[in-house]
């Protein structure tokens, strides 16, 4: 990595004697140039990772990332930071496991501590439907050489001693499953690390620039974007704008098969360490982890079917999630919730992401990342490959938009709700 200022123990000690006055901003804040080879709209995790891999893997350095707000202010800063690869289908398992592998080496690669903590994710299973679903995932993953195991009820209790005692359970614990390489990572650090990495390769990160129009040339290919900070010419335009994808794609008269649903999360007051794994219970629709600061980070299921762009939660879902949480952990009933937030998750019809060429020449889409945080490294890597070579990366070959018209669905379900 090319960088004026590599972070290390020596720069830290050096900073300590010089009152930490030598630190510079981690990335530049440049004026937009008039022309770029590639303009990426959306400065979230996926957009920045795409810019980073475009420069690093494909030698394309004349790249701009155009962000409407500020870096880290969107869904990249609103997720619950869980990373795992226990998916259903071969394509998804291999894609998300590649992502997890990239996460494992990312702190070193970016010279930025992403605080990856592979503390295991344990699924607590209360119904035969969930047992069957997770067993299916385990068999499929093991066949592909990826570790994911079933647990007996006793093993589940051994990993999570604070679980409710048997006699108080409405639904007894039938078993569990565990991915030991799963865990959490610092979500802001991923975004900042990729931003710094991309910037060090010469990528311009342009914040506070809202895209208002996309113009096409006489040949129908994209030619120029108009932003609140002026016009920028581009040979290729790639969008990774999270729940704004449909709106941005409509600027080139493209309709994307996407729907946005509300999801919320909350954080309890800080407590002493009680949980050293990520706990997920599909049958109660709740998952949680214990953050380094001592807060419990709690998430629930999506509010499916109601299209929503609200940046906030809903009380019925909060009530459902909390009642599920207290069923598993009655001892948490006196905890206070400190913060609550919500946002929109973007879904394609079959629950798998879209990393795709489009009918508009030079216009690329990365969308439908409702489990997008864990996918950032592989999502960026494969999207960069698609933009640079105009053909999909083998890991993301199943994510093209044409799969909807050829009925090659890649059906995926979350792990927070029972799927079968």
């Amino acid at each position: 990595m090319r960088s004026d200022q590599r972070y290390s123990i020596f720069t830290l000690i050096g900073g300590a004697v010089r009152a930490h006055r030598h630190w510079k901003p981690a990335w530049r804040n440049p004026q937009p140039k008039t022309h770029y080879d590639v303009v990426i709209i959306g400065g979230g995790g996926h957009g920045l990772a795409t810019a980073y891999y475009l420069a690093k893997n494909h030698g394309i350095h004349n790249v701009a990332v155009v962000e409407r707000n500020w870096i880290g202010g969107g869904n990249s800063g609103r997720n619950t930071a869980v990373v795992r690869s226990n998916y259903l289908r071969d394509i998804s398992i291999q894609f998300f496991d590649k992502s997890l592998q990239l996460y494992e080496g990312l702190s070193r690669e970016l010279n930025y501590n992403i605080m990856l903590s592979q503390r295991s994710e344990v699924d607590v299973l209360l119904t035969t439907v969930s047992m069957r679903n997770m067993r299916r995932r385990a068999l499929n993953m093991n066949r592909l050489g990826i570790e994911f195991q079933m647990l007996t009820p006793d093993q589940v209790r051994e990993r999570i001693p604070i679980l409710a005692p048997m006699e108080n359970c409405r639904l007894p614990i039938l078993g569990g499953s565990i991915q030991e390489r799963a865990g959490i990572a610092r979500h802001d650090a991923i975004v900042w690390g990729y931003a710094r990495g991309a910037d060090s390769y010469g990528v311009d990160i342009i914040q506070n620039a809202e895209v208002t129009a996309i113009r096409r040339g006489n040949d129908g290919a994209v030619a120029e974007i108009e932003t609140s900070r002026g016009r920028i010419k581009a040979n290729k335009i790639a969008i990774a704008t999270g729940n704004e994808n449909a709106a941005v794609a409509s600027l080139v008269d493209l309709r994307l098969p996407l729907r946005c649903y509300n999801l919320q999360a909350f954080v309890s007051e800080p407590i002493k360490p009680v949980l050293d794994v990520v706990v997920n219970c599909p049958d109660l629709g709740v998952y949680l982890s214990h953050s380094d600061k001592g807060e419990l980070v709690i998430g629930g299921a999506t509010d499916a079917q109601q299209i929503s762009f609200r940046k906030g939660g809903k009380f019925p879902m909060l009530e459902d999630t909390i009642s599920g949480l207290l069923e598993l952990f009655p001892s948490f009933r006196r905890l206070k919730l400190m913060r609550q937030w919500g946002g929109a998750l973007e879904f394609a019809q079959d629950g798998s992401p879209i990393v795709s060429l489009t009918d508009v020449k030079g216009f690329y889409v990365s969308a439908g990342w409702w489990g997008g945080f864990k996918a950032i490294p592989a999502g960026g890597m494969t999207f960069a490959h698609l933009i640079a070579r105009d053909e999909p990366h083998q890991l993301a070959a199943g994510y093209g938009m044409e799969r909807f018209s050829t009925l090659n669905y890649l059906l995926e379900g979350g792990t927070t709700v029972p799927t079968d």
Partner: protein
């Protein structure tokens, strides 16, 4: 908590209801037209900020189906169509 006006039961809590998606023209208008129209029916939704018309069912109450208009940014409910 949203309060939703069920045409039979009156104002009830949102948790009693289920939204099943957007109001679209009937399937027969798409199915025999063209492949593009059929794909449009299957996959596309008005995925946007603003007011959408949706089908709701009073699932944990009387079971009545009805349409209502809802703002996707604020979750505010405009008016229900009570005679559907």
């Amino acid at each position: 908590m949203l309060l939703i006006h069920c045409p039979w039961c009156g104002v009830r809590a949102e948790s009693e209801f289920r939204c099943t998606g957007q109001v679209k023209p009937p399937r027969s208008e798409f199915v025999h037209k063209s492949d593009e129209a059929w794909l449009e029916y299957l996959y596309q939704a008005d995925n946007r900020r603003g007011i959408l018309e949706e089908y709701w069912c009073h699932e944990k109450g009387c079971g009545q189906w009805f349409k209502l208009r809802r703002d996707t940014t604020t979750h505010e409910i405009m008016d229900g169509d009570t005679d559907s």
